[in-house]
């Protein structure tokens, strides 16, 4: 049953409709046919009973004198004349209920002394007694001569003709039902086709819409509810087509604006970095060459140089985030001696830590291979940003940088003992220009782009970054980057070089 219901669910709408309508017609016709057959059967039975009554009356009239005189020979002949294919048995009983004659003439039944039970019963039946038995109708009554009962007669009528008539009627009903069902199937199929054809065409059109063809329109004729559906569909596709066109235009405009922005940023960064580099260079020369300059003057030069460098860093960050977001930053993984890179990083950052009285502790897991395939600049920027932030937001204690190895990843873990980060800011700090709060920016400086750049680079390397921290309890940033097969990446790199 479940299998069949599943099969039915998978049928097309036209088939479902045809089957449903056909079943309905079949059930209706079957019910009507059964009722009709029953009525016909009752009618036939009534007819046979009427005929039995008439025959019984005629036979009783013909046999009254014979029974009175007990002329068994005459009664036997009468029984033989009446009996046949349709009257199976004719029996006569005397006034004691004894069987005295029948159409068989069998001595074994006729020459019995004891009265017959049926005969005794019939002697009291002034009205015809009718009883339906297997394949026959029994009819019997007493026989009167004057006012006296002289005997009884019984007939057994064959129901074969009745059954034949019923069978013929049934066959006709079955034939008519069959034709009606065929007609119903044809009509239901045609009707369902007229309904489902537009729906199927709409479905095909919808498929084209799903594939991006928004110019498709339903061209067929449909009316009623299906017509409304078709109109709605055509209206919808037209609206989608117009919206899509607008979106395409908007996209093109946005892409153009983005391109112009990138050009602008590129030009501006060049135009900004060139004089800034010159300024920083000259300020450095001034600090080194101007011996007569007072300490106050040197301090002012130093502040000028420091601000110029911060401005340059900010510009670099803006350029980096711009390149990352525009997809123009291409990472080039190459085998890197990670220990050497960490050593260089330690040299650079240890000075900053010492300036704040902090200790920078660096460690590399022994299980980490000597050569790790990674974009060297990206790794340096990630590690520098994380360690730099740790130093920036730590007033005392230490900052640790650890490179660890997991089963499939290598891990950059930066831990500090700084101010910590509230839980609700753990995600926000990776957004552009966001720091814990405005006071932080004022107190510690920075553009708010460092962690956004770091997170973007990590995502570009298919890695993850997360932070565990709480206010005044320091922070731990954990970066997980999938380990790339060094040998394979080396081969790839060589190939790229050779192709280049």
């Amino acid at each position: 049953m479940t299998y069949l219901s599943g099969k039915f669910r998978n049928l097309q709408l036209a088939a479902k409709f045809s089957i449903g309508a056909s079943l309905l017609v079949a059930i209706t016709i079957a019910a009507i046919s059964l009722l009709s057959l029953d009525q016909e059967r009752q009618h036939f039975r009534h007819d046979l009973e009427e005929q039995a009554n008439l025959l019984l009356l005629s036979t009783s009239l013909a046999s009254d004198t014979g029974l009175y005189e007990l002329d068994a020979f005459y009664l036997s002949n009468l029984a033989s004349e009446i009996s046949g294919d349709e009257v199976l048995n004719v029996r006569f009983y005397d006034d004691t209920g004894r069987l005295v004659a029948d159409n068989t003439g069998d001595p074994e039944t006729l020459f019995i002394i004891e009265p017959n039970a049926t005969g005794i019963d019939l002697l009291d039946e002034e009205e015809p007694l009718l009883r339906w038995e297997d394949e026959r109708l029994f009819a019997g009554r007493n026989v009167l001569l004057g006012n006296g009962v002289v005997g009884a007669v019984s007939l057994e009528l064959s129901t074969e003709e009745l059954n034949t008539q019923i069978a013929a009627t049934r066959n006709q009903a079955v034939g008519a039902a069959f034709l009606a069902i065929i007609a119903a199937i044809a009509v239901a199929y045609a009707l369902s086709r007229s309904i489902t054809a537009p729906i199927r065409q709409l479905a095909q059109a919808s498929s084209q819409v799903a594939e991006g063809n928004y110019k498709v329109q339903y061209e067929g004729n449909a009316s009623g509810e299906v017509g409304e559906l078709v109109n709605s569909f055509n209206t919808m596709t037209e609206a989608i087509r117009l919206k899509t066109r607008d979106l395409q235009r908007a996209t093109r405009d946005a892409q153009e604006a983005s391109r112009l922005k990138d050009e602008f940023l590129s030009v501006m960064s060049h135009e900004l970095r060139t004089p800034l580099n010159a300024m920083i260079g000259f300020l450095g020369i001034v600090q080194m060459t101007e011996k007569q300059m007072t300490d106050k003057g040197l301090h002012r030069v130093e502040r000028a140089r420091s601000n110029a460098e911060r401005l340059l860093a900010l510009i670099n960050d803006i350029l980096d985030i711009s390149r990352i977001e525009s997809g123009r930053m291409q990472l080039v993984p190459t085998p890197v001696n990670i220990r050497q890179e960490v050593a260089k990083l330690n040299d650079q950052m240890a000075v900053l830590a010492e300036e704040k009285g902090l200790s920078l502790v660096v460690s590399v897991d022994k299980m980490l291979p000597e050569m790790v395939t990674v974009d060297e600049d990206a790794f340096t920027k990630i590690a520098t940003n994380l360690v730099g932030n740790a130093i920036k937001f730590t007033e005392e204690g230490q900052v640790t940088l650890a490179l660890l190895k997991d089963t499939n990843d290598w891990i950059i873990e930066v831990k500090d003992t700084g101010v910590g980060i509230p839980a609700h800011m753990h995600q926000i700090i990776f957004e552009r220009f966001r720091q814990v709060d405005g006071s932080t920016k004022r107190k510690y400086g920075g553009s708010g782009l460092g962690l956004a750049i770091t997170a973007s680079l990590i995502r570009a390397m298919n890695g993850t970054i997360n932070v565990t921290s709480a206010p005044n309890e320091g922070a731990t940033f954990t970066v997980r980057i999938p380990i790339v097969d060094t040998a394979r990446s080396q081969a790839l790199s060589r190939m790229e070089v050779e192709v280049a």
């Binding site: 004198t65 007990l70 068994a72 004349e81 009446i82 349709e86 020459f111």
Partner: protein, 312 residues
């Protein structure tokens, strides 16, 4: 059913009109039969008494054909059947030479022989039975146990020309000193010094009358008696059984050529010896034709004695 009724109702009406219970006699049904038929010396004619001439003719024609074919050397070139409506007609036909051979049960054959001079020549084993006798019996419930008990009682006989249903029991009872008195119905009174009898005209009627207590006793032939179911026979008391007579006799006209008569006897007795003869015997429901036990003369003497007693 209407079709059937259309067939049955006229039959019923015809039966009603003809009158139930009134058995038609040969005289009644044969009034339109020719009283004189031309004789043909070259034809062998078998005669029968019946009110159904078509059936009777069809029944005997195979025998007529067979005999004619085997009597060619006697100048016979064909065989035919003549059906008389009654014994009187048959008597005349035998006397006039219309009929050469007459086959019937013993009593009518003897009656015709007495009046026409026809000569019984063979015994006819119709239905495989060459001889039978009569059985006089009653029911246990009547309390009758011996013949003397029949006096003052009503007995059902078959018919006036019946061998077993009248001739044999009438002779037997009269010969034993009883007085018989025919009654018109089974309601008639019977005096104490007589045995009343009523004709039922059919064995089946006689039996039913006894079983339904319409008569006190009944007479049937020994063959019919055997057809009574065993369970019923257990409740029957046999009061007497008569001597036996041939069930059927073959008689020839008195003036039939003796050579032809002898040849006829020879051919009929030999029918069981050929396949063709056996086939004809089977068609006429006959086992054989044979000579009368004890000889013709003794048979005629005995039956004449019986006639004398019955006819008083």
């Amino acid at each position: 059913m209407p079709k059937q009724l259309a067939i049955i109702l006229p039959v019923i009406i015809a039966i009603i009109i003809s009158g139930c219970g009134n058995q038609s006699t040969p005289e009644d049904s044969g009034s339109n039969q020719p009283q004189q038929l031309p004789s043909d010396a070259n034809l062998l004619v078998i005669g029968d008494v019946s009110d159904e001439p078509d059936q009777s003719t069809a029944f005997w024609q195979p025998l007529a054909n067979y005999l004619a074919a085997n009597l060619v050397d006697q100048g016979i070139d064909g065989g035919t059947v003549r059906v008389a409506p009654d014994l009187e007609t048959m008597t005349r036909w035998l006397q006039s030479g219309v009929v050469d051979v007459y086959i019937d049960s013993s009593y009518p054959s003897l009656l015709v022989s007495r009046d026409s001079g026809s000569i019984p020549i063979l015994r006819h084993g119709r239905g495989g039975v060459s001889e039978y006798h009569s059985v006089i019996f009653t029911l246990n419930s009547t309390g009758l146990t011996e013949l003397d008990d029949l006096e003052g009682q009503l007995v059902a006989f078959d018919a006036p020309y019946s061998t077993s249903g009248f001739f044999l029991p009438a002779y037997f009872l009269i010969d034993n000193g009883y007085t018989l008195s025919e009654k018109s119905s089974n309601n008639a009174a019977v005096s104490e010094d007589e045995i009343g009898y009523v004709f039922s005209y059919q064995d089946i009627n006689a039996l039913q009358w006894l079983l339904s207590n319409r008569v006190n006793a009944v007479v049937t032939d020994s063959i019919t008696f055997q057809e009574i179911p065993a369970s019923t026979r257990e409740q029957i008391v046999i009061l007497a059984e008569t001597e036996s007579l041939p069930s059927q006799l073959v008689s020839v006209a008195a003036d039939l050529n003796p050579n032809l008569r002898d040849a006829l006897v020879e051919v009929m007795e030999a029918m069981t010896e050929s396949e063709e003869g056996l086939a004809v015997l089977d068609q006429i429901d006959t086992s054989n034709f044979d000579t009368i036990p004890g000889g013709l003369e003794a048979f005629v003497t005995r039956t004449n004695q019986m006639f004398a007693v019955v006819e008083g």
